[in-house]
């Protein structure tokens, strides 16, 4: 029997019982659609997180105070010491590394910002002129912090766009004086809107020179030092040299240096695993659909015993009968998975419309896996019914016994 004829005959028997066929395809397509949509969501979450990280800056190496021991108890914990501060001089020393392009020290605190009678609590970032480039930020009006001596505590500040709106409304802000804590600062620029990034809204911060922030919060220690490596290839070198430089200066390892890549890779791994897990759970519904196919196929064999007997009498060997039932299973799961793909992509698009910030698109491997599983279970679960049909005794089958 020719392949085309086999498929034609099989599709004929499927059309012969349309309700049953449609229900089976529905089960298949729901399974495939579930895999597609769920993995699209997982993949979307992964890309979202990675985008968020990338918007922090490129080729970033981050220095933070304190030794983070991943195994066991750190030295500081044993002796009860707090880790040594990272000072501004430490930060400047990092520039000695040839792998470092620029650095931006970072101090964080909160203070009361007031203008005349208006006041509100704000997050204050202390940094240098480099922060603008390192963190990929952009100005709306005016200038960013002036370059110059890292120790100079100029009384200038840059406002986030939202703070500016709250304090000044539509009035001119640049050139005005505001009060931050007990000190007066002149507004020299307004950041452009960047929205939330890693739970940290740059629209709602006030940025001052790092030395001024240290005076404001009465501290000498930095919260972070952001290092931008010269290029991707020297990120590891920058990390190593930063560790060496600070070790020489502190005579002990009391800082942690992490690369953005490492953090990213961790998130990437976690979220990919999550996506696969979710996809795997959805694939279980495909297996359920497979059992359904087997059940319905067994019923079909029972219902068509006479037909099978006839085909044998007309000269069809068992192998041909088996192929006919296989073809039915392949058609069912094939068309079912196509419908599921359409459903799944439509579903992903709808989710994309509802959450525009989530880049939902099903990963190719999930699409392949879903269709493969659908076809695989369809064929696997039809092996038994097809064999049963192929082995029917023609005389008994013809008499319907």
């Amino acid at each position: 029997m020719k392949l085309a004829d086999t498929l034609y005959f099989a599709s004929g028997s499927l059309r012969g019982s349309p309700t049953r066929t449609l229900l089976m395809m529905l089960a298949m397509s729901i399974g495939v659609a579930a895999v597609v949509v769920l993995t699209a969501l997982g993949e979307g979450a992964r890309r979202y997180v990675i985008n968020q990280f990338s918007s922090l800056g490129t080729n970033l190496v981050i220095v933070l105070p304190g030794r983070s021991e991943t195994a066991g108890i750190g030295a500081g914990m044993m002796t009860g010491q707090t880790p040594r501060d990272i000072t501004l001089d430490d930060a400047e020393a990092l520039l000695r590394s040839t792998a470092v392009k620029r650095i931006a020290p970072l101090t964080i605190g909160s203070a009361t910002l007031s203008l005349d009678a208006l006041n509100r609590e704000v997050v204050v970032l202390g940094s240098t002129a480099s922060l603008l480039e390192v963190r990929h930020m952009a100005m709306s009006i005016g200038r960013f912090l002036p370059p110059g001596d890292i120790h100079e505590s100029a009384s200038v500040c840059v406002l986030g766009i939202k703070i500016k709106q709250e304090l000044f409304g539509n009035n001119q802000a640049v050139g005005q004086w505001v009060r931050l804590g007990d000190r007066r600062f002149r507004v020299i620029g307004i950041m452009s809107s960047q929205g939330e990034s890693m739970g940290f809204n740059t629209d709602e911060v006030v940025i001052v020179p790092v030395a001024s922030a240290h005076q404001l919060f009465n501290t000498a220690g930095l919260f972070r030092v952001l290092i931008e490596a010269k290029n991707r290839d020297v990120i590891e070198q920058a990390k190593r040299e930063a560790e060496e430089i600070l070790f020489q200066r502190h005579n002990e390892k009391d800082v942690t240096v992490i690369t953005q890549d490492a953090v990213l890779a961790t998130f990437d791994r976690i979220l990919t695993a999550l996506t696969m897990a979710v996809g795997g759970i959805a694939a279980i519904s495909l297996a359920v659909a497979g059992v359904l196919i087997m059940n319905v196929m067994l019923i079909a064999v029972a219902q068509r015993v006479k037909e099978i007997g006839l085909l044998k009498a007309l000269g069809a060997p068992g192998r041909q009968i088996r192929n006919l039932f296989f073809a039915e299973a392949v058609l069912l799961s094939g068309i079912g998975s196509l419908a599921g793909l359409v459903l799944g992509y439509a579903g992903s698009m709808i989710i994309g419309q509802i959450y525009p910030s989530l880049p939902v698109s099903p990963p190719w491997w999930a699409v392949l896996a879903a269709c493969g599983t659908a076809l695989g279970t369809g064929i696997l679960f039809s092996v038994w019914p097809a064999r049963r049909a192929a082995r029917l005794d023609p005389v008994a089958a013809l008499s319907g016994r």
Partner: protein, 226 residues
Amino acid sequence: MIELQNVSRTFTVGDQQVAALRDINMQLGEGEYLSIMGPSGSGKSTLLNLLGLLDRASAGTYLLDGGNVTDLSDVQQAHVRSQKIGFVFQSFHLVPRLTAAQNIELPMMLAGIPAEERKQRVAELIASYGLSERADHRPDQLSGGQRQRVAIARATVMSPAVLLADEPTGNLDRTTGWEVLKLLEQLTERGITLVIVTHDAEIGARALRQIHMLDGAIISDEKRAL
């Protein structure tokens, strides 16, 4: 062209042995017209199924066209059925979702014959069996006589050497039954070997050779004078 030597067939029911055929010996020549008669349960259908290679003998030898087909594998048996044997059943056994033409085409499709050739052959048969107006009708839209004519067309579409009919008129009224019988008899004029199993003595008497069976054995084998 057909020869059975000491063929018997026993069925095992529970722990009992039921002998459906006992030590059958017979020869059948090309173009012969044979009827098999006998009471219910005498083994007529069992004999016909054996002749049609749908069943296997428990003992004995079956020669078809000079070759021994007793111990052929299932696949080889299926091939012989496809090429040399046509069946006509009491209950027609048409595939309900296929049209008359598609039912007739079925054996050729299973045999892997190209579509153009199939279409041509089916068209010929449909015309010669007077089914032209019914070609695209499904079995449930046909009368009993028309269904049996479709079944006969299907049985002959591969030009078999032997046509085996088990009570071909059993589900038809008298007149239609006679028409169908005439159709089958015409086939013998073209050299087909025809074997008809029947209860009806009048129908059986039309065959040139008649076999009577009882309890799985042939009790008489007579040739009628022309």
